[in-house]
Symmetry: C2
DNA sequence: GACACAATACTCGGATACACCTTGTCCGAGTCCACTAGG
DNA sequence: CCTAGTGGACTCGGACAAGGTGTATCCGAGTATTGTGTC
C-alpha cells in the first residue's frame, strides 16, 4: 500500500485537533511530520478531489477539513489515496488456453477465484468503513490525554 | 496486488483437478492459460518455497500439490506470492517533527492509525484463511459441472 | 535376447534485463496582506 | 487621520524527473529416457 495513506490519515487527525477555524498550509503540516512538502501537497490534493478536505489559495491559505472527523471513515481516506479500483484484478485467464478450446463453458458466471478474493476484500473494506477518524483520534488520545492540546500548542493555536 | 496471485490460484486448482499422480511441467501449465512460461515458473517456485507444491526435476518432472486442495487456504497462496509482511507499513511519523519535541509522550503504545489499519487487514486475512482452495474449486464446478473432466482431457489425462 | 553405457532431450532453479508505478521535485497561476501615497 | 492603489510574498495546482518493485527473459545444473553396442 502507498505510504501516502499513513500521511493522509495523520494529517486529517491533526486538522481535527486544530479545529477548522483557520486553514493550515502544506509547509506547516510537512514540518509537523518531517515530510517532503511538495509530495505531501500532492497527497492532500487527492484528499481535496475526494471531498474530504477543502483548499483555499492565497497567502493565508491552506487545507481544512470538509467534514468533522466523525463523518470521515478510514475507507474514504484509503480510497482517496489508493484509488477506487480493487487490489485484486481478475484478468480472466480462465478463458485463455484450455478454456478457449471448450466453448461449451459459459463465462457469463463470474470467475470463482475472483469471487473468493473479492469476498475477502469486501471484509477489508467493511472493516475500514466501520472506523471513523474520530474513533482513531479517540484511541490515540486514550494513551496520551493531552495530545490535542500539544498539537495545538506546536501549531501556535494554543 | 501482484498478478501472480491469480496465476498461482488457478494453477493450484488445475493441479487439483488433474490429481497428484504425475507432475505437470511449467510449460504445460503456461500453455493452459497462455502465460509466459519462464515467469510462471518463478511464481511456482514461490509456491514450492511456501510448501504448497513439490517440484521434481528431470525430463518427466514438474510440479505437484504438496497437500490436497481442502488443506490449502487462499491466505497461504497470497502469502506465498505477496510475501509475509502487511500491506500497510507504519513508519512511525508520529515521532517526527512535532512529536519529537514533546518527550512527555510515551511511544511505547502502538500507533492508533497503525492499529486501526491492522484491524482491517486482519479481517482481510481472516476472510482469506477461511476459504480453502477446495471450496473455490467447488464453487467453480457449481456453474460448470464437468469442468474437472474437461481440464483432465485437455491435459491428456482423460 | 539381455544388459551396461553413453548421448540426449527435457525439466527446474537462479541470475540477468526491461517497464511501469510510486516517490520526489520544480515552476507557474492565483490570492490575500501590507505598505505607500494621496485626499 | 482615512482610504484607494500597488507591490510583494505566500499558497495551491499541475507538469516534469528519479528510483524501486513487479514483470519478463535467458542460460546453467540435474535427471530420466532412449538408443546403441557388447556379451
Amino acid at each position: 500500500m502507498s505510504e501516502g495513506v499513513e500521511w493522509a490519515v495523520h494529517c486529517c487527525l491533526t486538522l481535527g485537533w486544530l479545529g477548522d477555524d483557520r486553514p493550515v498550509p502544506t509547509s506547516r503540516l510537512a514540518a509537523g511530520y518531517e515530510l517532503p512538502p511538495a509530495y505531501l501537497n500532492k497527497q492532500l490534493q487527492a484528499l481535496v478531489r475526494a471531498g474530504l478536505l477543502t483548499s483555499t489559495p492565497g497567502v493565508r491559505g491552506g487545507f481544512r477539513l470538509a467534514r468533522p472527523l466523525d463523518k470521515i471513515t478510514l475507507m474514504e481516506v484509503v480510497a482517496a489515496i489508493e484509488g477506487p479500483d480493487d487490489a485484486f484484478q481478475c484478468t480472466e485467464i480462465r478463458r485463455r488456453g484450455s478454456g478457449a478450446e471448450s466453448p461449451e463453458r459459459n463465462f457469463r458466471t463470474p470467475c470463482a477465484v475472483s469471487t473468493a478474493m473479492r469476498k475477502a476484500e469486501l471484509a477489508w473494506r467493511r472493516a475500514l468503513a466501520a472506523q471513523t477518524l474520530a474513533e482513531v483520534a479517540a484511541a490515540a488520545e486514550r494513551h496520551a490525554p493531552n495530545l490535542g492540546e500539544g498539537v495545538r500548542r506546536w501549531y501556535g493555536r494554543g
